[in-house]
């Protein structure tokens, strides 16, 4: 073997190992994040954390029950607005839109909305809801999060509807069903697993968002009395606790981080399972 070939062989082995190392480094960050949160937060995730209100600074104990409920409220409200709009937009794009100018513009706007930094969405929600109402509210937070959810849902709905085979639609139309009947009882059910996956991923994504909540739903140390009140949320709690100087608050922020990450990861894994089961049963 010539020196040149030895060099090439060595370079081959070295560089291929380097790429494997890159993959290892990137994937391992996920485990580092998870392990560190479990290490710091696991001992503080107890019944109090889920059932009690935060205590004043200096007192130990207490929980984040209001933030958990508040997150559920805000995300629930965002889902109620965002999912229908996203879903029907996806249906329109896939079933009626075709390649026309109008659907091109709608697709483009969805991509545009998807790319808007979440903090800018927060500014927008502040200008259209918080400013006219003169106070922060869960409503404004939910509105901001729904704007993030809409393009995600629309995109995945369109994509999964487009994958439904033509033959299914034609079969239904040939039996005399109208177009909307075909869509509602044949096309959408055939794509339901994909659509569900898209929605779950979208909801998981907005549950972790804190930037759009900073000046929409703000925070609340107590139970919020309604959708039009400032409302605590888990991501925002994590932020305020983390930048505070109190040790007991740090202990709680780790617990909150662990709970939030746990929820998000479980949702992502569940979505993945739904999708893989869906595709295998469709083939079988």
């Amino acid at each position: 073997m010539t020196a040149r070939n030895i060099y090439r062989k060595t370079l081959n082995n070295v560089m291929l190992s380097v790429t494997a190392l890159c993959a290892l480094v990137t994937v391992s960050t996920l485990f580092v994040v998870l392990a560190y949160l479990v290490y710091n937060g696991a001992s503080s995730v107890n019944l109090d954390f889920f059932l009690k209100l935060p205590r004043a600074t200096g007192e130990t104990g207490g929980g984040m029950a209001n933030a958990i409920l508040g997150s559920a409220e805000i995300v629930g409200f965002a889902t109620l607005i965002g999912v229908p709009i996203g879903f029907f937009t996806g249906v329109y794009l896939s079933e009626w839109g075709g390649q026309g100018v109008f659907s091109f513009i709608v697709r483009y706007m969805c991509d545009l909305l998807n790319g808007v930094p979440s903090i800018v969405i927060g500014i927008f929600a502040w200008t259209v809801i918080v400013r006219p109402m003169h106070h922060f509210s869960a409503l404004a937070g939910g509105f901001a999060l729904s704007l993030i959810l809409i393009p995600i849902t629309a995109k995945s709905t369109e994509q999964f509807l487009a994958e439904v085979p033509r033959a299914l639609r034609e079969g239904s139309l040939a039996l005399g069903a109208t177009k909307w009947r075909t869509i509602a009882s044949v096309v959408v059910p055939a794509a339901r697993k994909g659509i569900m996956t898209g929605i779950i991923l979208g909801v998981a994504r907005i549950s972790g968002e804190s930037a759009p909540l900073l000046f929409t739903s703000l925070n609340n140390e107590y139970w919020s009395s309604g959708l039009s009140e400032p409302t605590a949320s888990l991501p925002y709690m994590i932020y305020t606790r983390a930048i505070s100087p109190y040790d007991d608050w740090h202990r709680q922020t780790w617990a909150a981080g662990l709970v939030l990450l746990g929820l998000v990861l479980v949702a992502n894994i569940a979505a993945r399972l739904i999708l893989t089961r869906g595709s295998s049963s469709a083939r079988g």
Binding site: L16, V33, W96, S103, V116, I119, F124, G208, G257, R272
Partner: protein
């Protein structure tokens, strides 16, 4: 003529039954409903751009284009210059790309060229999970681990080697451009990896086989044939990641140091556009102050808009090229 005259009065007589007939058919109704929802997406996006434009009016009227170049940010005297934030945003994002692009592309090469089937899919899924980790959690971890590590070990180590360069001069506070860039790098890995992997995987098999048949090693075939073939998609992934990095808020806000001035040293505390909006928006009073923050939002929007547009174009070109030939 006579037949239409016969039909006309019938329809005129019972608009209710006509509507109910259409409702029973339902196609127009369903079409109209979905169309209305699509229009609402258009309207809300247009309204977003409009509100940013109108909301920043007082600030644009006062400063004009000098807003972008002025270095002074002093809310007390109503002087607003965005330069320190634009500088901080660009520096941290470029630093993040400098770290994440080589590593991410390397990982993408491994996932598409070396790892096989299920193994590659599972690793890619883990990378996608990394994308799902909320920003505030990265910030939390960075505050309590990366910041002290930077101050005590990594920073001094880099300084002992490159300390003479202005880029690494001055004291290491822990918080600052470098730490923020590092956290951002971890957060944009998934975008670079999953898009680059797609681009690499859409390179036709024949390209690899031809190179290998000519005696190239696996690395030579990958680096000289496959990667150049997929380059537009890879560059697209970089733009996409760049746009994400620019808009990144929470994690950066927690570790950037919040200092509205321009520093040459990467170890110095700085500020980014997203971070200053996050920190000051609720406290902004008066007329010009909030408008200046909205204008910063507008600048951020325009930057990400351009980068996302370029990214989508490049990704579209590569994936279409690949599938056309495959």
């Amino acid at each position: 003529m006579s037949s239409s005259a016969a039909v006309q009065p019938q329809m005129g007589k019972s608009p209710v039954s006509e509507i109910s007939r259409r409702l029973r058919g339902g196609d127009e109704v369903a079409w109209l409903i979905t169309l209305l929802f699509s229009i609402s997406v258009l309207l809300v996006t247009a309204l977003l751009v409009w509100e940013l434009w109108v909301g920043s009016e007082p600030s644009r009227a006062k400063s004009g284009f000098s807003f972008l170049t002025s270095k002074l940010w002093n809310p007390v005297t109503d002087e607003f210059g965005a330069y320190p934030f634009i500088y901080g945003t660009i520096v941290t994002s470029v630093l993040a790309l400098a770290i994440a692009v080589p590593t991410g592309v390397g990982a993408a090469i491994y996932l598409s060229e070396l790892a096989t089937g299920k193994w590659s899919d599972s690793l890619t899924f883990l990378v996608e999970l990394l994308a799902a980790v909320p920003s505030v959690i990265f910030g939390l971890l960075a505050m309590f681990t990366l910041v002290p590590m930077m101050r005590e070990t990594i920073g001094p180590a880099i300084k002992s080697v490159f300390g003479s360069l202005p880029l690494f001069s001055g004291p290491v506070y822990g918080v600052g451009y470098f730490t923020a860039g590092l956290v951002m790098a971890i957060m944009i890995f998934p975008y670079i990896i999953s898009v680059s992997r797609e681009a690499l995987m859409s390179v036709p098999r024949e390209q690899r086989e031809a190179a290998l048949a000519l005696g190239a090693t696996k690395w030579e075939s990958t680096w000289q044939i496959v990667v150049p073939y997929a380059r537009l998609g890879i560059i697209g992934s970089v733009f996409l990641a760049f746009a994400r990095a620019l808009g990144e808020t929470m994690a950066v806000t927690m570790v950037i140091g919040n200092d509205p001035s321009v520093h040459a040293s990467l170890f110095a505390p700085g500020y980014t556009i997203a971070a200053v909006i996050a920190n000051e928006f609720t406290e902004a009073t008066g007329k010009v102050y909030p408008a200046a923050l909205v204008e910063l939002g507008l600048v951020l929007f325009v930057l990400t808009f351009i980068l996302n547009g370029l990214a989508r174009l490049l990704i579209l070109i590569t994936t279409q090229k690949g599938s056309a030939r495959a």
